[in-house]
Subunit: 645 residues, 2 copies
């Protein structure tokens, strides 16, 4: 399909927006009127700037408050339209978006609306222009696509058609199923906007919180499917009003935009291919879509079977210090890389790699920060397919230097710059390390701490990275987002959202601090917008693990005795267990599915820390209820340093 995007969706001046749109390989744009009005250049200049970038202007928008007006206003609006038509011809754009009337003057008379739109279309036709009519969710008399279609149908003019926007339909909980029955050639244009489900005034919701498909909570795929079944063959477009996008560097947002369309198309293609024919008409429509409409069909999502390793970039000093800490945490120094200054630490199924190789990817990107996570490696049956999927979704592939008889581990660059690497499951738990490392033959004798798997990796993200990461997680890795939670840090709220694959062998937690003063915000700022916040390792006996860790000198964030007194009033908990938790400093959370016991280590240089977790039964969260206890304890400890005044 042709893919287009409205200029209002991106930050920057008009030339900057166009360059970002072209760089992300869109075919065309919707020109948002204000972007033209406030641009210093003429229509002819914009026209050639667009053409020079290989783009077209597919839509001029919006034209407001036209239909159903009293005669005087109607005549004036026709005049206004003629001026816009002049401009459209100068710009070389053939369609204008006319959105349903929000004026208090509007008359509730579909026949009148149809007659006036017929006249508008007649005038447009005289210049070979077309008018698309769209129901705004807050239109005063027309706010559903069914009403807009009824008006377009009555107006019955070949230069007048319908424009659909998923937001306007789904925000009102209107059923998109009826769209499939509209003649496809009468749908002139399609805007796909997602959004989080919010209980607020629809206009505010629309103006500030729309997002790209896959970033919100609407069922985008079903909506698009209806439009395609109707026979629509026009552009797939994005018109996103989002406060954060307005503030974000536009090159990244443009890539997100393209990724969102590719992801959506792939979802719809899959759904159409797999759907059972409902009846003959629908089956004919379905076949027609599959034959006539080019929908994106990237490699399938990777089947991820857990995290293979986490790789840290470190300079020599911090690498050594970190290594000592890992030994304290029950890891053993399992080997040294064959060709690089890279050390492997292992415990249970957990592999942590510390890369201090000068001039490595890791060091080049990250060594300014002392110690940072530079790669998260996942196990998958087909690494090349995984990379193919990622690059199809506009991620960049990265291939590191490979020494003789070492394994090639293909990787992609995730938003923010660190790598997601793909390790073949066929290598088994040791294959990769046997190939690349000189492994120590024996255990060093010191007992481990019973830490078995990487339960989750929590990332700290700048506000403008959250939607980027949600989409990356879904479209590239197949991780689906859970609930969005708010955690009260003493210096501001932190938003937290888990993303995980279906069998929960890979979980990430995405943490965002809108304010500047929380610990999370400081960590994110130090990490340049994306950073690993903490790493959670699982134990099947957290008390045993904690005892061993304390014995080896590991320090944990101290939890207030008041926490346990309060827990007793909140949860029906075995007194013996409570006593153990109190004594060990272990936190507790309960959901209907199960329990979660966990504890946090003190952090390294006010940055990264570890969490030890034990999931009981099918508990599926991350102990968010206890995060404020941790953050308060961390703040009390660091109160002197940070200050507050």
């Amino acid at each position: 399909m042709r893919r287009t995007i409205a200029t209002v969706s991106l930050s920057g001046t008009l030339p900057e927006k166009l360059e970002a749109i072209a760089a992300a390989r869109f075919d065309g744009i919707e020109l948002f009127e204000n972007d033209f009005v406030n641009y210093k250049g003429s229509a002819a200049e914009v026209r050639s700037m667009v053409a020079d970038l290989g783009l077209t202007i597919d839509l001029y928008q919006p034209f407001r408050d036209f239909e159903g007006m009293p005669e005087a206003q109607y005549q004036r609006s026709l005049e206004r339209a003629e001026r816009k038509f002049d401009l459209m011809q100068e710009l070389d754009v053939s369609m204008v978006l006319c959105c349903s009337n929000t004026s208090p003057l509007v008359i509730d008379d579909p026949e009148l609306a149809a007659a006036q739109l017929h006249e508008l279309a007649t005038r447009a036709a005289a210049r070979n222009l077309r008018v698309g009519f769209e129901a705004l969710a807050w239109g005063r008399k027309t706010n559903l696509y069914g009403q807009a279609w009824e008006i377009v149908r009555r107006a019955d003019h070949p230069h007048l058609g319908l424009i659909l926007d998923s937001f306007h339909t789904l925000s009102l909980k209107d059923d998109p199923a009826g769209i499939a029955d509209i003649p496809g050639h009468k749908i002139f244009f399609l805007q796909m906007a997602d959004a989080p489900l919010l209980s607020m005034d629809v206009l505010q919701w629309a103006r500030h919180y729309r997002s790209f498909p896959g970033q919100g909570q609407f069922d985008m795929a079903t909506f698009l499917e209806q439009v395609l079944l109707a026979g629509y063959t026009g552009p797939l477009s994005l018109e996103i009003f989002n406060d954060v996008f307005r503030e974000t560097p536009n090159r990244r947002i443009a890539v997100d935009a393209m990724r969102s369309l590719l992801y959506l198309e792939s979802q719809v293609r899959q759904s159409l291919e797999n759907s059972a024919p409902r009846d003959d008409t629908r089956e004919k429509q379905r076949q027609r879509v599959l034959q006539r409409i080019e929908l994106y069909s990237p490699p399938a999502l990777p089947d991820i079977a857990g995290l293979a390793y986490i790789e840290f970039a470190a300079d020599e000093a911090s690498g050594e210090a970190f290594g000592k800490l890992l030994l304290q945490l029950g890891f053993r120094r399992a080997g040294k890389h064959r060709s690089k200054a890279v050390v492997l630490y292992r415990q249970g199924d957990v592999n942590l790699i510390v890369n201090a190789q000068p001039n490595s990817f890791a060091r080049r990107r990250f060594d300014t920060h002392g110690l940072s996570v530079c790669a998260i490696a996942v196990r998958t049956t087909d690494p090349e397919r995984a990379v193919g999927r990622a690059t199809a979704m506009q991620s960049k592939r990265y291939d590191g230097p490979v020494g003789p008889s070492e394994q090639q581990v293909p990787a992609v660059v995730s938003p923010g710059g660190s790598l997601v690497s793909f390790v073949s499951s066929a290598l088994g738990p040791n294959g990769l390390y046997e190939a690349d490392f000189i492994l120590d033959d024996e255990e060093d004798g010191a007992p481990d701490a019973g830490l078995e798997h990487i339960d989750h990796v929590a990332l700290g993200l700048a506000v403008d990275q959250l939607d980027t990461w949600i989409l990356f997680s879904r479209a590239v890795l197949g991780l689906e987002p859970g609930e969005s939670l708010e955690l009260a840090d003493p210096f501001g709220l932190v938003q937290s959202r888990g993303v995980a694959n279906a069998d929960r062998s890979m979980r990430l937690v995405l943490n965002v601090s809108p304010g500047q003063r929380t610990r999370t915000a400081r960590t994110v700022a130090a990490g340049g917008g994306v950073t690993v916040h903490h790493i959670a390792l699982s134990s099947h006996d957290i008390f045993d693990s904690v005892a061993r860790l304390r014995a080896s000198g590991t320090r944990f964030v101290p939890i207030s005795p008041n926490y346990y007194d309060d827990l007793l009033t909140r949860v029906d908990i075995d007194p013996g267990l409570l006593a153990k938790m109190r004594s060990a400093g272990v936190l507790f959370d309960r959901s209907p599915a199960g329990d979660y016991l966990h504890i946090y280590t003190e952090s390294i240089n006010d940055g990264l820390f570890f969490e030890i977790v034990q999931r009981v039964n099918a508990y599926d969260g991350y102990g968010a209820a206890n995060a404020p206890a941790r953050m308060a304890a961390q703040a009390q400890k660091q109160g002197q340093e940070v200050g507050n005044g």
Copy 2:
């Protein structure tokens, strides 16, 4: 009245919160449970920490989901309550807030709720504790104060009373008039929360957007009046859940909190003193309030008659450069200060003072920035009363050094650190300058630019300074806020809100950029959180002024020709006027009350700029609709420097 505040209203650790609360001279606190639960110290330690600061704990809160529960949960909750009562006794707090049930298990039976609360109160009474019952706006069965009162009335226990919170009543548009009929001794506690009027889910609204009285849009004074008329004599408290307050240094927020109560009390006192007796009962109530309840009665608000001058702090070089610019703008160098390196520039009624005196207040606070506004001086009949009002509202007085036979200009420190000075109207237009300056006898012959008054001063504020400034403007200066508008900068939205006095002789515009990349955000960051964004000067013939200014070399932000083409389609405007505007580069806005013609100068070092304005008839805004045109033009000009990628 006793004044208290909930610990949840402030950022920081518990000790930091308590210190800020004590420093702002509150009498006591509401202890928010999580602040205790997550604090490392014991109840006894908190008790003595509070006492050492001269505070008391007036309320422990909240106790949730108690009333109207099935037997099993009810029995469990009684157990839970006993544990909380233990804790309250250790903390030395005698009242707990029990908020109405939000559990899906709650039974809709006021009689049952009353019986259960009676039992809770009986248990509390056994320890000489009291229970206050509050209707949450999102309570499942009880969400209005009338319902809560009905349950308390039925329960009929001396240790059970009602807790009122203005937010819960006013957010649901419930009428507070009925409160005056509740027996005052049965109202146990009062929380005053304001909020902006938002169309959103009430729980989200409550959890994120409450504000201190005077910062939002609810009628706080009428609400409080009803409670006082009822005979309530308990504390006046603040329990404010606000995302921004959570991120703001707590010392400032605590001062805002205290100021909001003092302001509210003064409003209510005035209202009670001036109110005509409605009937005998109400008149008796009114007299009782005025006799028994100590309400704050600060000096009256100043009567402001325009801006006397604006003072800039400058180092020598930037002072000289700025002086040249002012001459270009049609100002004349009117004199030099008798004792300081301070120069006066005048045009029409506009006085601009450039202070390059080493070691002055101005230089000490501001000279790192090259050129900054350090004081805004207003004319008022009684400067000492104005300062008295300000200090009564917790602003700090500032007295500068005064030389022999110079005028004393009393001043107060505004939020962010610059001064608001008060010049006696009795001095006339020249008195102050004749006293303090060696004035040049004659005009220098150069014609001015026809600039007559300071129309408004636009401030750029950090996000966390907006509510602070709204309250300061109202409580200290008597400026009332207008509509809140959103302006689209190419790099993010900017919020803009005017505050003005009744006769509009003083207008400020408060601009806030939530994102970091707008021009406003960069200016604010450079200015340390509060800065003068631009200064608008009025002309009665803007075209003549612009012609003269252009002739003298003043450069204006260029406006796109497209703006004028578009204006023609939007507004019914005289073609001659449009042509003049296009040629002069003047922008246009229209409201039902009148028109606004304006133009912006280029800025000084990417910072301060001037606006020339002409108001036609009773236009009362600030041309916000045109701000995007300006911001786009500024971004296009600086596009190369700023970059976007």
